[in-house]
Amino acid sequence: MALTVKPAVAGAAGIAVALAIWQAASSAHAAGGSLPAVATVATDLGGLLAEPDFWSAVGATVGIALLGLGASAAAGIVVGVLVGSFEPIRFATRAVLEFLKPIPPIVILPLVVLILGPTGQMSWFLVFLGCLLPIVMQTVDGVHSTDPVARDTARSYGMGSAEILARIVVPSSLPYIGTAMRVSAPAALIITVVAGLLGGGPGLGARLYLAQSGGDYPTLYALVIVLGVLGLMFQGATRFAERRLLHWHESYREVVHS
């Protein structure tokens, strides 16, 4: 008989097994007492959820991540369209961008903290910098991938270059921009937390630092779980947005029979 399992059931089973392993490891003092019991962490998590301060930290983290992401998307798309539209600029910037891209934004964290201090501004600026380059580079590729026939069509109907950029080039680049956003959204969250953890910026990163310095393992784990859930939500939201905006693209097309 074929085994038919609902994905949701399988997922729940997977989580249950993971929790069981966690509990077993904790009972066996596998990590030298640094791994609290599942129930302890759950209680702590419950406590956190009832705390208004916790929620303002969540708000700060999400707000900073979204602000940085939004700013880098706006700037990255504009810069990417400009760079991609002018061949000489594209060639001139290529090498520099390729060099800068693999540098993690954390490297410049000390510098940004020196300039802006341990503030929310510092955090979102770091997010902005971290997400900017991938978005710029993907947009450049997207602009370059615009079908020349589509471009010629627009030109032959007398559409001006600004209109062609807005109505042909940017939509053509959307699949590439979508990919960049899908990668950048979780990165924005991570950078925000790291900026709090290492740079003293507000939000869950700072809470994580407090829990760490106080040796408060249950809270540490509870925060990790919260961040995991937030990461999933970020990813889900970008996937949802991508599907909505790119429903016409090959990878999302549904054959509709009318």
Binding site: A150, T153, Y157, I168, H249
Partner: protein
């Protein structure tokens, strides 16, 4: 399955009656030459083409694949510079895309935007004309109706068959109301019945809008049926082998005209030009 036959009633109503105040335009091609690339690597595609399309005339261009028909049309549409000679509309030299011209691309599916519905694709080139909303809608309705696609206006191009996509591209050109309509193998992927309907639509557009029409086709019967004159291209690089005046009575009719002995004579004429190496 019956093909989605093209509506005739709206045509009678809108395209049929009085010519709508369009200024008939004339197209002149004088010693046009075109090479791709420069220097030693240059590839000469068009040697020397001279012909003209009078106002309200339908001219068909026939010639073997790869001879440079699309190349010629791109030059006429101002999308690429010529390497020699000139092309002019009513005496004004073409140096960029002329506003009074519409081009239906051979690559119809790539010329439709996949993120826009059929209707929005048709409206796309009209946006910068800043027409009143009602006129925009009227033009779009009429054009879609004319190609028999009113029912598909909210679908996306990739949900349609090749022939339907081709008709969307034609509708977009009609809605633009050009003085000169240029089409690059526009009926290549439609079934025989729709093809006849579209050919007749082409004749009706000329009557209704007073358009000047230049059509590239592989199909010699089609060229003879549609055209007032057929420009036969040949040799490499391309030259005009001959310009054949089609002398068939108007109005033309798919069954009657094609049955005429003159029709057979004309198509044999053109065919022998193409078959025989120049």
């Amino acid at each position: 399955m019956t093909s989605p036959h093209l509506a005739t009633t709206p045509l009678e109503g809108s395209l049929g009656g009085e010519p709508q105040g369009q200024r008939p335009a004339r197209l002149d091609v004088v010693h046009l030459a075109k090479s791709y690339g420069t220097g030693d690597g240059a590839k000469k595609v068009i040697e020397d083409l001279t012909f003209s399309v009078s106002a309200r005339e339908i001219v068909c261009i026939v010639g073997p694949s790869g001879i440079g028909k699309t190349t010629l049309l791109k030059c006429l549409a101002g999308l690429q510079p010529t390497s020699g000679g000139r092309a002019a509309i009513d005496g004004r030299e073409i140096s960029g895309p002329p506003p009074e011209m519409a081009l239906v691309f051979q690559d119809y599916s790539r010329s439709l935007m996949p993120w826009l519905t059929v209707r929005k694709n048709v409206v796309l080139p009209l946006r910068h004309l800043r027409l009143p909303k009602a006129e925009l809608k009227a033009r779009c309705d009429e054009a879609l109706e004319a190609v028999g696609l009113a029912h598909a206006e909210n679908q996306f191009p990739w949900q349609l068959s090749g022939g339907m996509q081709q008709r969307v591209a034609i509708a977009r050109a009609l809605a633009y109301r050009p003085e000169i309509l240029i089409m690059d193998e526009p009926f290549a992927s439609v079934d025989a019945q729709t093809r006849f309907d579209l050919e007749d639509l082409c004749l009706k557009i000329r009557e209704g809008f007073g358009m000047t029409i230049l059509v590239v086709t592989h199909d010699i019967d089609e060229a003879v049926y549609l055209a007032d004159r057929v420009v036969v291209l040949g040799s490499k690089p391309a030259r005009v082998l001959r310009i054949v005046d089609v002398e068939l009575p108007s109005p033309r009719d798919q069954i009657g005209t094609r049955a005429l002995p003159e029709f057979a004579a004309q198509r044999t004429d053109v065919l022998s030009l193409i078959k025989r190496p120049a």
